[in-house]
Every structure is written in C-alpha cells, then in structure tokens.
C-alpha cells in the first residue's frame, strides 16, 4: 500500500491537523518509508493468536457510582484559552 499526497491530506484531515500541499508532498515519502518498514509484520502467522489487551493481567476495578471530585468549575476552566459565564467558548457552530 503506497501513500500518496491525497491520502496524506485525508489522514491529516481525520487527525484535524492543517497541512499545506508542500507538507503533504514532504510527508508522503516519509510515511511510505515508515509504513513500508512496519508492513513486515504481515509475514508473522497470527492466525491462532489473540491480540494483547492488557500487558500485565489486571482486572479493571469497579467503584461506587458517586461524585469523587466535583464542584471544581473554576479550576476546570482555569486553563481554557477562552471561557465565558462558566463555559468553554468556541466559534459559533449553529447558524
């Protein structure tokens, strides 16, 4: 599978990273090089192997469904690039 500049632009759009045409031109051979190298994994027979989900066996814990660290609106908003009236603000999304 070879990655062309159109694919690079599509992936960048999925990843929400703005890239220029020049960036896409530069990245296509770079990504091809890396992806070509990782494609060697295809030669490993994994037909009877389960994908790893936990590196150290460890059962996920359940806890009481209660608020643990609530009422911290101001702390949560403190590092927001823009906030108003106790909310995060973003460019208008609904006309």
């Amino acid at each position: 599978m070879s990655v062309d500049t159109a694919t690079v632009k599509k992936v960048a759009s999925l990843a929400r990273i703005a890239i220029s045409d020049a960036d896409a031109e530069r990245l296509a051979p770079e990504l091809n090089n890396i992806l070509g190298w990782i494609e060697q994994l295809g030669e490993v027979d994994t037909s009877s192997v389960e994908p790893m989900t936990a590196v150290i066996p460890n059962k996920l814990r359940l806890r009481e469904d209660v608020v643990t660290e609530g009422n911290q609106r101001d702390a949560v908003l403190q590092n927001a690039p823009q906030g108003e009236h106790g909310f995060f603000t973003v460019p208008k999304v609904v006309e």
Binding site: M1, V3, T7, V8, V11, A12, S13, L14, A15, R16, I17, A18, I19, L27, E30, L31, N33, I34, L35, W37, I38, E39, Q40, L41, G42, V44, T46, V49, E50, P51, M52, T53, A54, V55, I56, N58, L60, R61, R63, A75, V76, Q78, N79, A80, P81, Q82, F88, V90, P91, K92, V93
Partner: protein, 494 residues
C-alpha cells in the same frame, strides 16, 4: 573534600540526617549548579523556591528532633511530562506552553510527600516522542559528554528523558524522574553514564503524566547509581485509584533488600539481540557483562526471543496509534494553545491549533497512528500489531521458564551527535531496538553504566526481569555496577 553536588541521593539523605550538612546547604549547592548550566538546556523551568521550601521543612523537622521523611533533604529534577501544580507543564511542546496545572501528578506528589524538593522541570523530546531530545519546542538538550580528542560536536543526551539524563550526569541534580514508553529512561541513561529503571507496567501511577501511549507509558527514576534508583523508585510507586491500570500491591523494600549476590540466579542471553551490524565495542561490553554476572555467582544460559525483529515495527504501530487517540484532547478548547483566525469555524480552529501546537515528529506520529487506525487498515495494522505483541510477550514468558533475568546491551551505539540521525526518522527509531521489546511486554528493565567506547563515551547494559521482579533487576544492576567500577564523568565545559 567532596563537593555536595558530587553526592548521590543516599549520601545526601544520610548526610542531612546525620547533620553533616543542612538540607539548605544541599539545596543551595544544586541551585547554583543549575543556574550555571544554561548551556546544557536541561531545564525548561527552574524552581529554586520549591527546593528551598522542601529543604527548610527538612531542617526544621531535624531541629525539632522529628524523624525525617524518606527523601528529606534531597532535591531532584522533574521531567516536564509530570503535571506540577502551579508550575508550567509543557511536555516540551508549544501546545502546552504556559499551561499551569491546577493539580499534581500522583508520582510527583508522592516524591514531595516523601520530603523531596524540586529544582526544576526537565526538558525532553516533545510529548516524549524521540530518542535524542531534538524534538523539544524549547530546544535541544546538549549532553555534558564530549568525544575525546578535541571533538566538541554537541552530542545527544538520549531521549526522551534527555533533560533528566544530562542534568544527572552533569551533577545538576542527584536524581530525577523519567518516563519510558519504548526506552526513554534506559537509552538516555546509557548515553550519559547513569542508571535508570523502568518498573513493571502499573507500578507507577500514570495519573497526571502527559499521556503518550497509555499501554506502554511507565514512570521511573534516573540517578547515578543503582541504590539511588531503588530509593527513588520506592517513593514513586504504589496503588492509585485514579489510574485504571495501577497495580494494587504493597510497596516493596527495594533498598533494604538490595543485594548484588547473584548466586542461584540464572541469567539469560537472548541470542536474537546479537544483531548484524552491532558495533564490536557493544558486543565486547556485553561479553564483559556476562563475565561480571558469572563472577557474581549467576549461571548464564542462552535463550531465544524469536519475535525480537518484529518488536520495533509493532511498537511503531501501537505507540503512534495510542498517541493519535491520546493527543486528540489538544483541541484548543479546554487548555493549551488556540489558533483561531478571523472567520474560521470550529473545525478550522482545531486543525490550525494542532498544526501550530505540535512539532514535526509529533505530527508524523499522529498521522501514522491515524492511518493505522483508519477504516480498512485497522485489522491489517493495529490488530496484527496487537497480536504480534502477544507473541513478543510470550517469547519473554518462555525465556523466563529457563532463566530469572535477561542481560542485553541498552542501545546499539554510544551517544550520537545532534543532527546525525534527525533527518531520517527510521534511523532514529532503530536506536530503541533493545529497549522496546521489554516495553511491549510491560517488564521491569534497567540500564546501568558499564564502560566507555573508544571515543570515551559511556555505554550501558540492560537487565530485564520478570513482571514485578524489580528486586532481581536492581540486584543484577548492582552486581554489574560493583564490577564495572564506572567512575567516568564528563569534564565540565558548560
């Protein structure tokens, strides 16, 4: 007389307890060293006030006759990947420039609770992605080491914990935190002639550590010797309900039980790590390490880890995939950078913010991660990599039926010059060939300095242990340390 800054964690702790010097004297001595070492660019932020406050607390407790905390009087460096309350935390990125967390990471809180002070936040590869510390938004860290013979080419301190490794080997801090996703504690430790251990996955809480690849990320200590690593590690680990993969286990007494006696231990030598093209000096050092562990009483056996050659490509699918998900949080809305030109909509704001906030290597990995997770490719790449990861972990399980520990080189070369590998991402990735397999299997592993190459640069040996056997790893590290007699240090030029 020995300078205070030549002392390690144990000697500083013991000296303060014994009243040989005050914690204030210790803090002052290191603060001066840090302030005079700007040429290394090891720190992003210096926090002398934090170190002085901890020192004052230690001296006051001593004056009142109280028992001192385990790390009272010991100032350390904190990798700038750990959230520190009220102190800028950047992950060496423009994205988080100016970000001052309103909370403290669990690991750093444990260290402060143990009485340690913070000299500053240490530089690193951006979002911990890199092996040379050349991807930091705040500039390269320069290794204090130089090749012999008047070659003053600036060398890489390793990465991603390059600020930590440079600061420790330059005696700016006696110890520091690191994080290790594919070798980011062990490779920089090897490059700078210091020790560093990545514990078993789940020992250290990931809460408050800027996430890179969550199934691999583990914090650990870096210091000048094995005992200092044991002391710091004891004060970093422990169960944390805020991390869903945190192991609920008691904290072992690694320092107290530390022993370099390897009688009755079997040490495996994985034959697949004898890669074509590995420099003769590395192989010779490895043979020397084998002789040292035999001398310490261990029996040495050859073992096989047949899927070793697939570890790096597996890692470079899984780590970018997880990174692309983790780094989705940087959207210009909740914290960090926002780029928003007049008239741009929300989607354009996301894309502009992420283009401006992430450096080239971070963008490259996000794109690879997005690609391997995208519809149509997920099974061929991500699922296949997750399966090969199972096989790599099984290789280790099988090897550990024949031996207790594994001994390997830490890196395939000594430190390289800055710029030498940065043009070719693949050449840089290959530097992690010996460290990545243990990361994929979640195993404890450490690097100890073992010798110098012909240019006078440090080389490290790696010990890999069974899950939760940090004690065994530290013991073998100590056995090598005792026999290597590594006392070389960089000559001060900064």
């Amino acid at each position: 007389m020995t300078e205070i800054t030549d002392l390690g964690v144990a000697a500083l702790r013991d000296g303060v307890r014994a009243g040989t010097f005050s914690a204030r004297e210790v803090a002052d001595a290191f603060i001066v060293k840090v302030s005079k070492a700007k040429a290394l660019n090891a720190f992003i932020v210096e926090t002398p006030e934090h170190a002085l406050a901890a020192a004052a607390a230690a001296d006051e407790a001593l004056a009142r006759g109280e028992a001192l905390k385990p790390l009272a009087g010991v100032p350390i460096g904190m990798k700038d990947l750990f959230a520190t309350k009220g102190v800028q935390t950047t992950a060496a990125s423009h994205m988080l420039e100016g970000f001052k967390p309103v909370y403290e990471s669990t690991v750093s809180q444990k260290l402060w609770d143990a009485g340690a002070g913070m000299l500053g936040k240490l530089n690193l590869d951006q979002f911990a992605m890199g092996s040379s510390n050349e991807t930091s938004y705040f500039g390269n860290v320069i290794s204090p080491w130089r090749r012999g013979g008047g070659d003053n080419a600036p060398l890489a301190p390793g990465g991603s914990s390059g600020g930590s490794s440079a600061a420790i080997s330059a005696r700016l801090v006696p110890g520091a935190t690191g994080t290790d996703t594919g070798g980011s504690i062990r490779q920089p430790a090897a490059f700078t002639g210091i020790s560093g251990i990545k514990p078993t996955y789940g020992r250290c809480s990931r809460w408050g550590v800027v996430a890179f690849a969550s199934s691999l990320d583990q914090a650990g200590p870096m210091a000048r010797d094995v005992k200092d690593c044991a002391i710091l590690l004891e004060n970093m680990v422990g169960f944390d309900p805020k991390d869903s993969t945190s192991l609920n286990l008691p904290v072992p007494k690694w320092e107290e039980l530390l022993s370099g006696d390897l009688k009755g231990k079997k040490i495996g030598i994985p034959k697949e790590y004898r890669l074509d093209g590995t420099p003769e000096e590395i192989l010779k050092l490895w043979d020397q390490g084998i002789a040292w562990v035999k001398d310490a009483g261990a029996e040495v056996v050859e073992v096989s880890l047949p899927h070793t050659k697939y570890a790096l490509p597996t890692y470079y699918i899984i780590a970018p995939a997880e990174a692309s998900s983790n780094l989705a949080r940087y959207d210009g809305v909740r914290y960090g950078l926002r780029e928003l030109a007049d008239g741009q909509n929300l989607q354009e704001m996301y894309a502009a913010t992420r283009a401006a906030g992430f450096g080239p290597e971070v963008q490259r990995r996000i794109l690879i991660g997005t690609y391997v997770l995208s519809a149509g490719f997920y099974d061929a790449y991500f699922t296949q990599a997750s399966k090969v990861r199972t096989l790599i972990a099984q290789d280790f399980e099988n090897a550990f039926t024949l031996c207790d520990l594994l001994l390997t080189p830490t890196a395939p070369s000594a430190a390289f010059a800055l710029g030498e590998k940065s043009a070719d991402p693949l050449a840089m990735y290959l530097n992690d060939v010996f460290t990545v397999p243990a990361s994929l299997a979640g195993l404890p592993a450490m690097s100890v300095p073992a010798g110098l190459d012909s240019a006078g640069l440090p080389l490290g040996l790696q010990i890999i242990g069974k899950p939760l056997d940090e004690q065994g790893v530290l013991g073998a590290g100590l056995a090598i340390e005792q026999r290597a007699g590594f006392t070389a240090r960089p000559e001060q030029w900064w």
